[in-house]
């Protein structure tokens, strides 16, 4: 915000309160109410006015309070925000970032634990990214703000409490300043036997599973943190699966038509002769997100991930 006076933040309770997760803590005090805008409680209104601000030359960074509250804004995101660049033949660019705390695992009430990424990945014109570590979050949010395209920035909410080193005060002045390109996947743990494709909150779970499998000698798992869901970094995915010959996709979102479906299709197209086993998916069920007391049964955990690893290795 220091670097670019056109960056404005918008959202519910992001000012004095600093947002319900305190992500914008202190920013209104530093930058004033014109740049850190507490909005009325209307998500379509937030995104719709962000579009107008972007048309006037601003770079709005919008906070949707929780994943389950993004749907009132769905029309503005899908019908307006995503399409404007194409329908205007590139004359109108909307560099809007939509930050959404997403995913479960924090014992929340309903509509506070959802994983809506597929809706947005399905929509041409949007970029969809999600960090898995504090350091990645630090750089990726700056890359998202600098990006001339609309970005849906998914923040794994149960990882808000993770601690990690960040280069405090470092400012992204050109895309090359960040350690990793915006749209690139990252091999978070190299391995030889199985490729585990995951993103956001599941990266930590998959890394733990890989360590467990290594400890008991079951398998040497390679964990690929996708980071960008639109576009997918398919070359990195393919290179890994060609090495290991086996792939498991893990996400919290329902398995039906989730990113796992897309990745399984892409992998069988791109790595058909390298595959030793069918691509397996571990995800949420095709039911509404359950009550918090049983959410651990819904969410992929270490055991469900390792069960899938056993099954791909059995081939």
């Amino acid at each position: 915000m220091d670097h670019d006076p056109k960056v404005v933040l918008m959202g519910e309770d992001i000012g004095a309160l600093g947002g319900v997760f305190r992500v914008t803590d202190g920013l209104q005090k530093d930058f004033g109410e014109d740049r850190v805008i507490d909005t009325p409680l209307a998500e379509s209104g937030i995104v719709g006015t962000a579009i107008g601000l972007a048309m006037r030359g601003y770079r709005p960074v919008v906070e949707i309070q929780f994943d389950g509250f993004v749907f009132p804004a769905f029309d503005q995101i899908v019908t307006q925000l995503a399409k404007m660049g194409n329908r205007s033949a590139g004359r109108v660019r909307l560099p809007v970032v939509i930050r959404i705390p997403f995913g479960g695992g924090i014992g929340a009430v309903e509509h506070h634990s959802e994983s809506p990424e597929s809706y947005f990945v399905h929509t041409g014109g949007l970029r969809v990214v999600t960090p898995s570590t504090p350091e990645d979050a630090f750089w990726m949010v700056q890359q998202a703000v600098a990006c001339p395209d609309p970005v849906v920035f998914l923040e794994p909410k149960r990882r808000y409490w993770d601690k990690g080193e960040v280069p405090e005060g470092a400012v992204l002045r050109s895309p090359g300043d960040a350690p990793r390109p915006f749209g690139a996947a990252h091999v978070a743990r190299p391995g030889a036997d199985v490729t585990m494709l995951c993103y956001g909150p599941m990266v930590r779970t998959c890394l733990a599973a890989a360590e467990a499998a290594a400890a008991d000698g079951t398998a040497d798992i390679e964990v690929v943190d996708l980071r960008s869901l639109s576009p997918l970094d398919l070359p990195t995915v393919m290179a890994s699966v060609r090495r290991t010959g086996r792939a498991v996709v893990v996400h919290e979102a329902p398995t039906t038509l989730g990113l796992g479906a897309e990745l399984a299709a892409r992998v069988q197209e791109g790595c058909f002769y390298h595959l030793e086993a069918p691509v397996l998916r571990v995800g949420g069920f095709s039911a509404p997100y359950p009550a918090a007391k049983i959410e651990d049964e819904y969410l992929p955990d270490l055991d469900r991930v390792l069960d899938a690893v056993d099954r791909v290795l059995a081939h």
Partner: protein, 395 residues
């Protein structure tokens, strides 16, 4: 107002109740083409058109005739298969030209899909408007160049964009400076049906609480496709905004002078920092909703006949003729010019090139998107395969 005033949903009583408010409507030019001394509410707006000369009125007449002729030509082009669809503005010329002429170059307008008259006032080439309806384009003009956003088809969405743009105007300190070339207003066009959309209510909330320099210009043309406005509202639409803290005014939308005055007042208020205004331009959609529609299924011919007597162009012509501000030569010249524009439009419409198929991949993203870029390459390779086949057949 008390509920006892109104009958059950859809009853004639309710329609009558809505219509009773017509006497609060700002009018400066009667359907007979008379320009009476302004009284009552109209008096408040008279100052905004004091400087309007006969030349200006002739100019507005010209705009309206050209726009009507252009609109008729577009309808004909649709019937001939040159356009996939057309949304006619027939009957709404005064509302659009009056409000369009109230705008300054630095102002910004957010249209629906029917604002051809406003587009004309903003200098958008008519052929560019046809591209969308021909299926040759999804947009077709540069919004920044004309201060005129792309047409919006999903009802009401643009009212939020207008409000956001107006919030940007505020942040640019282009409100209330008193500099005539700096202070800007934003105008959002919407219809009576759109007032039922949640986005419109949200736009009213946002613009009110931020005091944004935006004018909501609602053309109440009485019909949302087949639904009369008794299916949208229990109160006159201009009263809708007062609950949001936004003043509302109803103007005779078939009166170009009154529309100009009321829009000038509202945009001036916005530019000076006075905040949003809701204008209801009371008018009538003389034609179908679009060329795909058949209004004879839902409305009676007598209603259309009644509105013909309030024609927005006839009254200006009557005034110009009666006051001696224009003669037969002038009217003939305007007709000839409109005919010429329509002829040219026919030619330029047919000449609009089909976009190359691979252009569907263009400008989706400002920066490379690996997955889409790969799809484009695969598609081009697939197409190239057919080119080889064709050559083989030829040789």
């Amino acid at each position: 107002m008390p509920d006892t005033d109104v009958g059950p949903a859809g009853s004639p009583d309710r329609a009558a109740h809505v219509d009773r408010e017509a006497d609060t409507m700002i009018q400066m030019l009667t359907p007979e083409g008379e320009r009476p001394e302004p009284t009552g509410a109209a008096l408040e707006y008279a100052a905004y058109v004091e400087d309007v000369t006969d030349d200006d009125l002739r100019g507005m007449y010209r705009d309206m005739v050209i726009v009507r002729r252009f609109d008729a030509e577009a309808t004909a082009l649709q019937r001939q298969g040159e356009l996939g669809l057309w949304a006619s503005l027939l009957g709404q010329e005064a509302a659009q030209v009056g409000s369009g002429r109230a705008l300054r170059p630095q102002d910004f307008a957010y249209p629906t899909y029917r604002e051809h008259g406003v587009a004309w006032c903003r200098g958008v080439p008519p052929t560019a408007l046809l591209g969308l309806y021909r299926g040759a384009s999804l947009g077709g003009w540069d919004p920044a160049e004309h201060g005129f956003a792309l047409y919006t088809i999903v009802i009401g969405s643009q009212t939020l964009h207008a409000t956001g743009y107006a919030m940007g105007v505020q942040r640019d300190h282009a409100v209330g400076t008193g500099e005539p070339d700096r202070d800007a207003a934003v105008i959002a066009y919407l219809g009576d049906g759109a007032t039922s959309q949640g986005d419109v209510s949200e736009a009213l909330v946002f613009s009110a609480v931020y005091n944004a320099p935006v004018v909501f210009f609602c053309q109440n043309n009485q019909w949302a496709i087949s639904e009369p406005n008794t299916r949208q509202t229990r109160v006159p639409l201009f009263k809708r905004s007062s609950g949001f803290g936004i003043p509302g005014v109803r103007v005779d939308g078939n009166d170009v002078l009154a529309t100009l005055a009321v829009t000038r007042a509202a945009t001036e208020r916005a530019r000076s920092g006075g905040g949003p205004t809701f204008v209801e331009a009371y008018t009538y959609r003389m034609g179908a909703h679009t060329t795909s529609d058949d209004p004879s299924r839902y409305r009676i011919a007598a209603e259309v006949e009644e509105w013909k007597l309030k024609d927005p162009i006839a009254r200006v012509k009557a005034y110009l003729a009666r006051s001696g501000a224009a003669d037969e030569d002038f009217f003939a010249e305007v007709e000839a010019e409109a005919k010429q524009i329509a002829t040219e439009l026919r030619v330029t419409c047919r000449a609009l090139p089909d976009p190359p198929p691979e252009s569907m991949f263009d400008d989706v993203y400002a920066e490379p998107h690996a997955v889409l870029d790969a799809e484009r390459e695969e598609y081009l390779a697939y197409r190239a395969g057919f080119a080889d086949d064709t050559e083989e057949v030829r040789t």
